[in-house]
C-alpha cells in the first residue's frame, strides 16, 4: 500500500460574490468598528528585513473591463527565501514579516501591496525557483479562486531556469507572469492580470 484513499470530498467552491469585502475587508466596505484593521492590510513592520517594494496591477475581464470587485491575496517568502509567515503572532518568537497580504481592487480594478522582494525558494526538483509571489484571486463571476504567480522582470537569469515558468510551453504566455519594474523611491513591480482573451494570464491547478 502506498497511499490511503481520501475518504471525504473537498467542499465545493462558490463565488465570493460582489460583497466579498464585507467579510474579508470590512473596513474597505466602510463597516467600521468590528475589526481594528482589515486582515492582511499590513505585511511589513519597521523590523522587517529586505528590500521594500510595491507590487501592483490591474485585473481585466474578457471584455476589457476593470474587475473592480475582486479581492487578491498574496503569499510569499521572506528576504531569505523562507516561508516563516505568521499573521498576528504576539509571542517573542514572532517573525517580523507576515508573508501574507490581502487587498481589494479599486474602481479601476487596481490592487496594490506594500511588501518586500522575496528571496529564492527551493523547488521540488532541488533547484532554486526564481523569486516569486503566489497570488489567489476571487470575485463575483469567479466560481473557484484563481491561482497564479508573479515573477520579477529584473530576475531574467533566474526566471530562465525556474521550475514553474519553464513548464509553460509558450514563451508568450510565460511573459504574462512577469511583472515589469518601475523605478522610484520604492521600486514598483506591475503585473496586469487578464482573466480571459488574447493576453490571458496563466492560471494554475497546483
Amino acid at each position: 500500500m502506498l497511499h490511503p484513499v481520501p475518504t471525504l470530498k473537498e467542499t465545493p467552491s462558490q463565488t465570493a460574490g460582489p460583497y466579498v469585502h464585507i467579510g474579508l475587508t470590512p473596513n474597505f466596505a466602510e463597516i467600521r468598528g468590528i475589526y481594528d484593521a482589515d486582515p492582511g492590510a499590513t505585511m511589513v513592520s519597521p523590523d522587517t528585513r529586505g528590500e521594500r517594494i510595491v507590487v501592483s496591477g490591474r485585473i481585466i475581464d474578457g471584455a476589457g473591463a476593470a474587475v473592480s470587485d475582486a479581492v487578491v491575496e498574496i503569499w510569499q517568502a521572506d528576504t531569505d527565501g523562507s516561508y516563516t509567515g505568521q499573521v498576528g503572532r504576539t509571542s517573542n518568537s514572532r517573525p517580523t514579516f507576515t508573508g501574507w497580504g490581502r487587498q481589494a481592487t479599486n474602481s479601476e480594478g487596481v490592487f496594490l501591496f506594500e511588501t518586500i522582494k522575496p528571496g529564492p525558494v527551493r523547488g521540488p526538483d532541488g533547484t532554486l525557483m526564481a523569486p516569486h509571489i503566489a497570488l489567489w484571486i476571487v470575485a463575483r463571476g469567479i466560481n473557484i479562486g484563481l491561482q497564479t504567480r508573479l515573477y520579477f522582470a529584473d530576475e531574467e537569469a533566474a526566471n530562465g531556469t525556474d521550475f514553474v515558468l519553464s513548464r509553460i510551453p509558450d514563451p508568450k504566455r510565460r511573459a504574462t507572469l512577469i511583472a515589469r519594474k518601475e523605478e522610484g523611491d520604492v521600486p514598483r513591480y506591475v503585473l496586469d492580470i487578464h482573466l480571459q482573451g488574447d493576453r490571458e494570464t496563466v492560471f494554475f491547478d497546483m
Binding site: 465545493p12 462558490q14 463597516i31 491547478d205
Partner: protein, 244 residues
C-alpha cells in the same frame, strides 16, 4: 509548522468543483479563463500558508448578533448558532485555522456601499465575523438567519438564504471560499450560483443541517456546517510513510 515542506496535496477534483464558465450565472461569461489551467505539482510556495493560531481575536468576533451593536442593541432576526468541523479529505481535523464568514441581514440586505436593495439595513447588524478552529477542528458563531435576496441575473432571480465562508487550512493551495445554505430551503434548487456545482451530492455538501441537539432552548436554533479542505498524501521518508 509554517515553512514546512509537507506532503503533496491530493489533486483537486475539478469535475466535482464548479467549472469557471457556467452560463446560467452570467457574470462568469467574461471572467472565466479560456485556456486550460496549467497542472503542476504544488511547491513549497503552495504547500505552506499563513497561520493565525495566535491571532488575538476580539471577544465578539464570532457574535454577529452583537459585534456591530449600536448603543447596546442586538440584531433583528431568527437567532442562530452556526457551527461545524473543518476536516481534510483524510477526515483529519484542521486545527487553529481561520474561518471567516459574511452575510446579509434578516431581510436580505447587505451592508455594502454598492448594494441598493430596498430592504432596510439593520442598525445593529454589520454582517461579518471570524473564528479560529479549536483542537478538534471546530468553529462556531452566533448570528441571525439571513434573508433571501434578489439579484440582477435572470429577470427574477433570488439567492437562497446563505452565509459566505472563507477558510485557510494550512497550505495556500487549500484556500477555499464557499457558501452555506439552509436545510429545506426550496430556493436552493432554483439558483444558478448553486447550480454551478455539477454534482447534486456536492450541492448537498453545502447545505447546513438543523441540529436540535445543540439548539439553545428559548434562545437560538443551531445549524451544523462541516467543511472539507484538500488532504495531503503522506510524505515518503526513507521509503516509510509518515503518520500512517
Amino acid at each position: 509548522m509554517p515553512g514546512d515542506d509537507r506532503g503533496a496535496l491530493y489533486a483537486r477534483d475539478r469535475s466535482w468543483q464548479p467549472p469557471a464558465n457556467t452560463p446560467g450565472y452570467k457574470s462568469t461569461t467574461f471572467r472565466a479563463p479560456r485556456h486550460a489551467l496549467l497542472s503542476l505539482p504544488a511547491t513549497v510556495s503552495e504547500l505552506t500558508g499563513p497561520t493565525f493560531g495566535d491571532t488575538p481575536l476580539g471577544p465578539l468576533d464570532n457574535d454577529l448578533i452583537r459585534n456591530y451593536s449600536q448603543d447596546g442593541g442586538e440584531a433583528i432576526g431568527q437567532r442562530l448558532i452556526v457551527y461545524g468541523q473543518v476536516l481534510d479529505e483524510n477526515a483529519r481535523p484542521v486545527v487553529d485555522t481561520l474561518v471567516e464568514f459574511w452575510q446579509a441581514n434578516a431581510g436580505g440586505r447587505y451592508r455594502h456601499k454598492r448594494e441598493g436593495y430596498l430592504a432596510a439595513l439593520d442598525p445593529n447588524f454589520g454582517g461579518c465575523g471570524r473564528a479560529i478552529t479549536d483542537e478538534n477542528g471546530f468553529y462556531s458563531f452566533r448570528t441571525v438567519k439571513p434573508g433571501a435576496y434578489p439579484w440582477p441575473n435572470g429577470a427574477n432571480d433570488w439567492r437562497p438564504a446563505h452565509i459566505h465562508f472563507s477558510i485557510f487550512g494550512n497550505a495556500f493551495a487549500q484556500r477555499l471560499i464557499t457558501q452555506m445554505y439552509f436545510e429545506g430551503d426550496p430556493m436552493i434548487w432554483q439558483c444558478p450560483i448553486v447550480a454551478s456545482v455539477p454534482d447534486k451530492a456536492g450541492i448537498e455538501q453545502l447545505v447546513a443541517k438543523l441540529d436540535r441537539h445543540n439548539t439553545t432552548p428559548m434562545d437560538a436554533l443551531a445549524y451544523r456546517f462541516d467543511i472539507v479542505l484538500r488532504g495531503r498524501r503522506s510524505t515518503m521518508f526513507e521509503n516509510k510513510l509518515e503518520g500512517n
